[in-house]
Structure formats: C-alpha cells, structure tokens
C-alpha cells in the first residue's frame, strides 16, 4: 500500500488514474491549494527541462570536441612532465641550495687562496734576497781561488765570499 507522499508525487506527475485518483483527490483537505501546487510543480519541471537540458552538439562541434580530446590524450604524457619541469626549474634555486652553493664557493676560494699563498711564499721570499747567478775568478792570477755564497738573515745581506785571491800590499787601500 502506497504512502501519502508516494501518492502525492504520483499525483503531481499525473500518474494516478481511475479509482486511485478519485480516492486520493477525495482525501485532500484543500483540493484548490493542491491543484495550485501541482500547476506550480509542472511549471518548475518544464523550466528545468528547458534550461538544464543537454544541448545536442552539431557535427562540426562534435568533431572539434573529439579532436581536442585526442590531442589532450596524446599530449597527456608530456604536459604533466613539462609542468613538473617548470616547477622544478623554478624551485631549483631554493634558499638552502643557494646557501650550500655559497658555502662551497667560499670553501673553494679559501682552499685555492691557501694553496696559492703556499706556492708563492718561497718565491716572494727569494725575491727579497739578492741572488748570485754566477761568479768567475781569473785562474791565471788566482789559480786557487774559490767562491761561496752566504745569506745573512739579519739584514738580508747576500755575501759572495771569495777565498784564495791574490793578496795585495796595504798601499792598495788608498782612495
């Protein structure tokens, strides 16, 4: 046996007939108000049918839609990836990575500086001192002469020390 709500819905939809229709309409307390509500429901249904109904596509629109769908499917593998790449490329230089890169750069700079300073130090030190490139003593005049080189750290003096040169009388000390 149908409940009142089921019969009301069926009545609104015009699905009651015969004895069932007569019995339902007789049970209505205010038939005029019910008829007005039925009319309103029909109008609303018609309005919804007109406004929200699926619009049939024309042939051109249908094919265009199909082609767009296919393109979207075929490029489906690339688009998400490229999108991901865009995100990755835009987010690669994050602050932690920048800090790391900066730290590494400073470390490399310091290492290179220290290495260069270590390599350059002896050269700079030798530049401060006078260097004897070669020395020759006349073997005929001083056959037993020898030469030695000394560096006096105190005043950074370089000494070419000769030994065995011909001795001369004190007269040679004249100005």
């Amino acid at each position: 046996m149908k409940r009142f709500e089921e019969k009301w819905t069926a009545w609104l939809d015009g699905q009651l007939s015969g004895r069932e229709l007569a019995e339902f309409e007789a049970s209505l307390p205010d038939k005029a108000a019910a008829e007005a509500e039925k009319t309103g429901a029909r109008k609303l249904r018609q309005l919804l049918k007109d406004q929200l109904g699926v619009r049939a596509l024309t042939n051109e629109e249908f094919f265009s839609h199909q082609i767009h769908e296919r393109i979207a499917q075929e490029s489906g593998d690339v688009s998400p990836a490229s999108g991901r790449h865009r995100i990755e490329s835009s987010t690669w230089w994050t602050i932690p990575r920048l800090l790391s890169a900066g730290t590494v750069s400073v470390a490399v700079f310091l290492v290179c500086t220290v290495l260069l300073m270590h390599e350059k130090k002896p050269t700079e030190e030798s530049q401060y001192l006078t260097q004897i490139l070669n020395a020759r003593v006349d073997p005929v005049i001083s056959p037993n002469a020898t030469v030695s080189i000394f560096e006096v750290k105190q005043d950074r003096v370089t000494v070419l020390w000769t030994e065995g040169l011909q001795s001369l009388p004190a007269d040679y000390a004249a100005k």
Binding site: D138, I141, V152, D155, R156, T158, L160, Y172
Partner: protein
C-alpha cells in the same frame, strides 16, 4: 651605470701597471770598502749604517772605510757605471730590471787586471757584499745597495 665597474677595473689596472714604473727610478750605491781592525775605529759611513751589524759580525772587522763609490740613479735598468779608487775599479753593467730588482754584471779590476766577475740579481731590499782580495792587514769589500 652598467659601465661603472668596467671603468673602475680599467683605472685599477692602469694604477697597477703604472706602479712598477713609478718604482723603477731608484738609486744604486756602489762602494769599494776597506775593512780593518784598528784600535780607534772611525764611525761607519752613513751608506753602510743599515748593514753595519752584519758587516761586523760576518767579517769580524771594526772599521769600514769607503775608498771609492758611485751613486747611480737607474731609470731604464740598462745603465752602466764605475766606482773607482786609486788602484781598484768596480764596473757595473745593469742588464735589466724586474719586480724583484736589477740584473747586474760586476767586474772588479785591479788597475787593468780583471780579478773577479760575477752576475747577480740585486734585490731592492737585499744588499750585496763581495769579499775581495786581502789588502795589507785589511780586506777589500765591494758593496751594492739599492737606496
């Protein structure tokens, strides 16, 4: 605005490149010195003051007298000059300049006799002393100092 760093770099480079040229004009003092031990030593010549300690400690003499000297202002680093005494002559031939100093060829003559020849790179911060022959009770020293 974008060119400003380039101008700054150019100016700095010019200053750096000009610096050696500004340093180039330096004077080399060359001296023939007799070192002796005497009872009443004379004060050391002013040219030798900066190496007085080293001379006394290394050679063991208490008096140093200049018997011949020369002061040469080097502009190109290719100059040559002579420091002479009565019997000795020190001929110096500068053969180029570097950042560290001057390349010199030195020849010590006794009258016209070549006693000693040497090539040296004379540093602007490091004097050169050459021990020459024994002269009487003393010692002939050749001293070169970039002043």
């Amino acid at each position: 605005m974008g060119r400003s760093p380039a101008y700054v770099i150019a100016v700095v480079a010019l200053i750096i490149s000009a610096t050696p040229a500004l340093q180039a004009a330096q004077t080399v003092w060359s001296g023939l010195v007799i070192a002796e031990n005497v009872a009443q030593p004379q004060p050391i010549p002013p040219e030798l003051t900066r190496i007085e300690g080293s001379l006394k400690a290394f050679f063991g003499y208490n008096q140093f007298q200049v018997i011949g000297q020369s002061q040469k202002k080097l502009k190109t680093g290719q100059e040559d000059w002579l420091a002479t005494s009565k019997f000795f002559g020190l001929y110096v031939d500068a053969r180029g300049e570097s950042e560290a100093g001057y390349v010199l060829n030195l020849k010590l003559y006794k009258e016209k006799e070549l006693l000693l020849e040497t090539d040296a790179k004379l540093s602007k911060r490091s004097p050169l002393v050459i021990k020459g022959p024994q002269v009487g009770g003393g010692q002939l020293l050749l001293v070169l100092i970039v002043q």
